[in-house]
Symmetry: C2
Subunit: 223 residues, 2 copies
DNA sequence: GCGCTTATGTAGCAAAAGTTACATAAGGTA
DNA sequence: TACCTTATGTAACTTTTGCTACATAAGCGC
């Protein structure tokens, strides 16, 4: 068990009863995985609740023509709600999960999690909140996929995920995967943005030059 | 309060403690609404948990160009999970809700629901299950929107929602709304299906003639 | 039946997205 | 530096979707 990062560092741990803490420390398992490792395959049965301690997980679907589309990311401190989902309903996992960088994951076995859920209010709370937030995120995503064009979704993505200095370290291939389209389409759209001086492109990097312009693209006011 | 349909008829009521039943019968409110009534507007704050007793509710989003897209339906006996979602996170409602036919809805005020959630295991259970199932549904939908063409989504929709005798009572306009596209596109696709003798169209009705053929369309094996 | 409303059938063009096929460039490494 | 891998830039072309504009038809009330 790595000393530096365990479940005890997560916010909800503080609110557990001593019995709960005990159960958790005895039952939880820790896993480390490297970038690009696939943690779960679609249709796999889920053995417990996953919680990310370090790194980042990417949850994605793969369509029949082989295109990937990122559904969401799981950041440190977050629980993989999809696994909860399966755990409470005995469903098979509905997507793929892969590590995006070196990532450490704690696994709480299904039986233990269900017991904690019955005993501990903080676990109930965590569960319902996590599920709720996921529902909200998914609805937003669905909304966007339905209502926006790729151009608009791309602009939105750039705005939302750029750093404070207006930079994103991401390849066009990754962008394409997230939006569920091909790299060529992304390149075409980005060239458009470059031509209008909204962004500057570099190898594995995009720099925002005119966030205002981009947000007008999102709302459909600008090309 | 209508005598014929109350919360006491729903499955989870049986598992409530007598205190819980008491609280519920005192606090719940009943509303009737007619077809096409809009129950909730996007961005409205949610005053409680909604449960459908009779009829059907449609949850939908509206994109910037005015197109609607049905996210899900809420059938009798189901709880509107979106409202739970807001209720536990103090979020604003993320979509529109309208009655599709004469519908009766029970409302459990937010404070009461939260209290029941703390006291009653059956309510915790109902909540987590409902949220989980919604997550699953939304993911499936997102998956389809990402990965399938309209032709394939339409074929899938027809297969999933046809009656046992292979009939659907639905207008092309409604189909278009669900898939988030225009009626003309649906008409074009349907004509295609008609030409291949997969379906027969009528006024407000579609009859499946060749479900096999349709399922091949879904998987992209057939035109 | 007549007229009104609602639903479907079709055509044609414009815009967006998907596909294929290469050229070019940036970084890392032997 | 030369070579190799990975990432980006571009063009041409196809397919799908979106949009506009009508024609036709079904059901309903009078």
């Amino acid at each position: 068990m790595p000393a530096q990062k365990t479940l005890t560092h997560l916010p909800f741990y503080t609110d557990l009863s001593s019995t709960g803490r005990d159960l958790l420390s005895k039952g939880a398992k820790y896993n480390a995985c490297e970038a690009a490792d696939i943690i779960l395959h679609k249709g796999q049965s889920v053995s417990g609740a996953y919680m990310v301690l370090r790194g980042r997980l990417r949850v994605y679907s793969i369509s029949s023509n082989g295109n990937e589309a990122t559904l969401t990311w799981i950041e440190p401190g977050e629980i993989c709600v999809f696994s909860l989902n399966c755990l409470f309903n005995n469903l098979l996992y509905p997507a793929w999960v892969a590590a995006e960088k070196d990532t450490e994951v704690a696994t709480i076995p299904a039986a233990l999690y269900r017991e904690l859920f019955q005993r501990e209010f903080s676990v109930q709370d965590l569960t319902v909140h996590s599920l709720s937030i996921l529902v909200f995120r998914l609805m937003e995503e669905l909304d966007q996929v339905h209502g926006l064009r790729h151009k608009e979704r791309l602009a939105n993505f750039l705005l939302v995920r750029a750093s404070a200095t207006g930079e994103l370290d991401i390849t066009q291939q990754q962008l394409a995967q997230h939006l569920g389209t091909s790299r060529e389409v992304i390149a075409r759209l980005l060239q458009n943005f470059v031509a209008q001086a909204y962004v500057r492109t570099g190898r594995g990097r995009i720099t925002l030059l005119d966030p205002e312009g981009l947000s007008q693209v999102v709302t459909g006011k600008q090309a």
